[in-house]
Symmetry: C2
Subunit: 265 residues, 2 copies
């Protein structure tokens, strides 16, 4: 299971302030905390700073990678900003995200073409947000094929089927879950990923619902997630679900995490 | 989701003592507590009293049904003991369980034939415990067909794919989960059920693992469970997973349970 630490996102006030003040220490602490609690990638998002997004992403890459030995997940829809961030990045970054929206797709494909970059392929098109498994499979099929044609390896593609809130429609959860399963069985060797907090929008005990939904998604095959690695129950859920899903040889990760007493079992 | 309350089991010391002393009040309290916390069926098991099992089951049926308006799940491999318990039972009981073991199957089929009884069909045969999805499907197929031939409605059949510990073999969890999914899609209108505490045998934080595995099983289609309804986190998991799986119209059960403040969200 690949963990993408989601906390360095400028939509969070504390991060926006740190970026504005160029507060290296604050950003580096958040990066390090996430890394030490299991993040494989550190997501960086400076989307609220429209004019300065590229500069801020470069600053984030530089400062994050100064303290953690992990790649970044460059979280932007803007190809120029992504290229700026990549120019300073060490190792193999993840791009979050390409979609089937024409402008975004056309601009991002040349950037990932023939590279080793990992790419989040978001199931969204100019026709809007997908609702059913079929909607998602149609977009995934087209998007994955476009990436494969540009010599992106299937193992570098992380399809995000796009979570929508169950408070809006009863079957939004199960349609997402079944899409995860179908993507994993249709494209051999591919990955699925998501940020899942939208699932609980409009309902009480959102954190609990998000934690529960993560376990369900892992049961259906999800193998990467954009989460808060400091959420000790979430991380315990991910580790336990991985073992229960047969992805943890001799339950070694589970036992190691249990002994480290870092998470909330 | 059907909940079978598992606490009235004579393998628990407190229950064995209550049965031996014919302590009506003690048994009735356990029955009522489970019912009030969401049990649809009250499991009764007096298996440790080999000679007196039938008498004790009758006593349990009578005293449980005196205080709760719910059917029992008669938990015994012995056809005589089951028939004795049924003789006093009001409403439609569940029988736990028939299997493909020849003696057990031959003796129990005539009891359920043409009735409205609900039947747990355990995936076990004289060849032993199943390990893979295929092992389970082979047994389920034969057993379900035997029941259908005896005019048991598919809606009254609850297949238990039989949980085995992941500490024994990494893929015992996922093979069980995939069997749940395959049973639910192969036999339209059927149910799946399990007692799942075996999954965590030999590992630390068993309660947490059991709670997590329950969510995964619901994601794969499980729609009945033999659990402790007084486990507030387990019940919260079941209710939340039901809503996330699209089985809770307008999240009404989830919201009701949240407002009742009975469970641990």
């Amino acid at each position: 299971m690949k963990i993408i630490g989601e906390l360095i996102n400028a939509s969070r006030k504390m991060i926006a302030t740190a970026i504005e003040n160029q507060d290296r220490e604050a950003i580096q602490k958040v990066a390090l905390d996430q890394f030490e609690n299991g993040a494989d990638f550190i997501d960086i998002n400076a989307g609220i700073f429209v004019e300065k997004e590229a500069d801020h992403l470069k600053w984030l890459v530089k400062n994050v990678q100064e303290v953690v030995d992990a790649p970044c997940c460059i979280d932007s829809p803007d190809p120029q900003a992504i290229e700026a961030a990549l120019s300073l990045h060490k190792g193999t970054a993840m791009i979050n995200s390409i979609s089937l929206e024409k402008d975004r797709c056309d601009a991002l494909l040349p950037i990932v073409e023939g590279t080793d970059l990992k790419v989040v392929a978001l199931c969204m098109s100019d026709e809007g947000m997908p609702q059913t498994v079929e909607d998602r499979m149609k977009i995934a099929d087209e998007l994955v094929n476009k990436l494969l044609q540009k010599n992106v390896l299937v193992d570098n593609i992380y399809v995000d089927p796009l979570v929508q809130p169950i408070a809006t429609k009863d079957d939004f959860g199960i349609e997402f879950l079944n899409a995860v399963e179908q993507i994993m069985t249709t494209f051999e060797g591919i990955h699925t990923i998501c940020g899942l907090s939208n699932i609980s929008y409009g309902l009480p005990e959102r954190k609990f619902l998000n934690q529960t939904f993560m376990i369900m998604a892992i049961a259906k095959g999800l193998d990467a997630a954009i989460v808060n690695p400091l959420d000790k129950r979430m991380m315990a859920n991910i580790i336990a679900a991985g073992a229960l899903a047969g992805r943890d040889s001799f339950c070694a990760n589970y036992l190691k995490a249990f002994r480290a007493k870092k998470f909330e079992f």
